[in-house]
Amino acid sequence: MTDIAVNSLANARPPRSQWLDFWEQFRTHRGALFGMTFFLFVLLIVFVGPYLWTLDGQYIDIRARNQGPSLAHPFGTDQLGRDTLSRLMAGGQVSLAVGITAMALSLLLGTLIGVMAGYFKRLDGLLMRLTDLFLALPLLPLLLVIIMLFRDTLRTAFGPETGIFILMVFVIGITSWMQTARIVRGDVLAIKEREFVLASRSIGTPSRRMITRHILPNVLSPIMVSATLGIANAIITESALSFLGLGFPSDFPTWGRLLFDSTDYLQQYPERVLWPGLAISLTVLSVNYVGDGLRDALDPRIRGR
C-alpha cells in the first residue's frame, strides 16, 4: 500500500534535481563507485581502527622485533618491535589529514584567485601572470628547499609534530592551486556573461553577494573534480617528501615515512615495504577513480551516453 503510494508519488513528480541526475550518472561509473567505497573504507579503518586495535604504535617491545605476521601482530613488527598495523593506522591518519587539509587550502586559494581573476577585470592580468609564474616554478625542488630551510624554525615555534604538519600543509597547498585557479577563472568568465547574472546585477546585487550566491554555486563542479585530484596529489607529495627524508620525523609515522624506513631492511624483510606502499597506492588510485567518475558525471557532454 505504502509502496504504491510512494511509486505513484514518484511518477507524479519525477525528481529532476541536478544532484539526483548527477548521482544517477555517477552510479553508472563502476570504478568511481568502487573507489568511493574503498576510500570511505580506508577513512573508517584509519580513524576508527585505533579504537578497536588498541596497541600503541609508539610502544617499543624490543623482544618482539622483526616478527612476521602473527595473531598478536597481523602485519608483523618493525626493527624496534613496534606493531606495524597500529603504525600504519597512525601513519594513515597523518597522511590523510595532510592530504585533505592541503587540498582544502589549495582549493581555497585556487577558487579565490580564479574567481577574483574571472570576475574583476582589473585583477585578471595580474593574477593570471602570478599563476603562470607559479606554474613555471620547479615545484619539487622548491618544496624540498622550503622544508629544509624552515623546518627547524617551525619546529621550535609549534613543537615537532604540529610544526611539520603546518609546514607540510602550507607548502603543498601553496604550490598546487594553479590548475584550480585556471579552470575556475575560465568558468567564471563564461558564467559572468549569462543572462541571470545580468538580471541579478540589474536589481543591484553587490559583487560580494553576486559571487557567493550566483557564481560560486555554478563553478562547484570543476572545483569538486579538482578537490579529488588535489587529495591524490597532496598524499603523493607528502609521501614523496617523507620518502626523501625531508618530511615528518621518524617517530611520527606517515605512510611515506614508513616506506622510507622499511627500505633500509629491503634485503632482509622485503615484505615490509609492501603495506605502506600499498596503502598509498590504493588510496590514491581510489581517489583518482572517484575523480574520473565525478568528471564524467558532471560533464553534460558525456551525460546520458
Binding site: A136, L244, I280, S281
Partner: protein
Amino acid sequence: MFNYTIRRLFLAIPTLFFISLIIFLLLDLAPSDPTANLPLTIPPEVREKIRQSLGLGEPIHIRYLLWCKQFFINEPLNIMEQWFGWDIAGDRLRVLSWQTRSPVVDLIVQRTPQTLWVVGMSYVVGVLIALPIGIISAYRQYSWFDQVGTFISMIGFSVPTFFTGVLMIVVFSVWLGWFPSIYDTTHQVTDWASFWQQIRQMVMPVAVLALFNAAQISRFMRASMLDNLNQDYVRTARAKGLGERTVVLVHVLRNSLIPVVTVIALGVPQVFGGAIITEQVFKVNGLGQLLIISIQGGDLPTVQTLTFIFAFLIVLFNLIADVLYGVLDPRIRYD
C-alpha cells in the same frame, strides 16, 4: 609565427630573472647558517671570516647581482672558451659550491650524462609505449584492450614512483636476482659484456619512469584520438573509400598528435623533477641526487643554480610547446 616566437623569447627573459630572484630571496630569507655545522671551537672572528669567504658579508642585492653576473655572464663565457678554445680574459669568478669548493657548473656537467641517460631513455621508452596503446585504445573504445589499458594507465599514475621502484627492487633484485638494485655510475662500456651490464642496470630505473610517463601520455593520446574519430572529416575520408589503415593512421593520427606533441614537450621538465625520486631509489648520482645532497648539506649556491636550471627548463619547454602548437596546427594564429 616568427614574430610571436621572438616576442615570447623576450618575455621569457624577465620571467626567468624574476624566478631567479624569488629563489634567491627564498634561500636568503631562510634562517640557516652555513657555518652552523662547523666545530664550536672555532672562534667567532674566524667564523666571521669563513662567512666572508663564502661571500656572505655583502648586502643582499649585491649578492644577487653577483650571482647573476657569475651565472649569466661568466659561466657562458667559460663554456664558450672550452668549446672553441678561446682565451678571453683568464680568471673569472664562478659560482662555487660550498660543499666541494668547486664550480657548480662543473658539478652539473659531471652529473648530467647519468640523468640524461636514465631519464631521457625512460621518456623515449614511455612515449613509444604510450602512443600505440593510446591509438588502439581509442580505436577499439570499450574493448577489453581499452579496459585493460585504461586500468594500467590509471595504476601507472596513481602508484608513486618510489613505490614501483622499491617494488621492482624487491621482486627483480632481491627475489629473482636479475638486475642490480644500485646504478653503478663508474661503469665503463668497453665491450659487449659491459654493455650488457649497462643495459641490466638501466632496466629498472627506466622501466619505473617509463611506466609513469606512458600512463599520462597514453591517456592524452586516447582522449585526443577519440575527439578526432568522431569528426566529420573522418566520415568524408571513409566515404571516399580510403582504407581503414589510411584513415586512422594518416588522417586521424596526424590531427590527434598535435595536442599530444605539446603535452610531451611540456612533460620534459617535469620528468627532470620527478626523476629526483627515482634517482634516489636506485642511487643514480645524477642531477636530482646532487640537489638532494646539496639541500641536506645546506649548500645554497648549488641549490640556487640547480633550481634555476629546472625553472629554465620549464620556461623553455613551455615556449617550445606553444611554438610547436602554432607550427603544427595552422588553425592556431597567435598574431
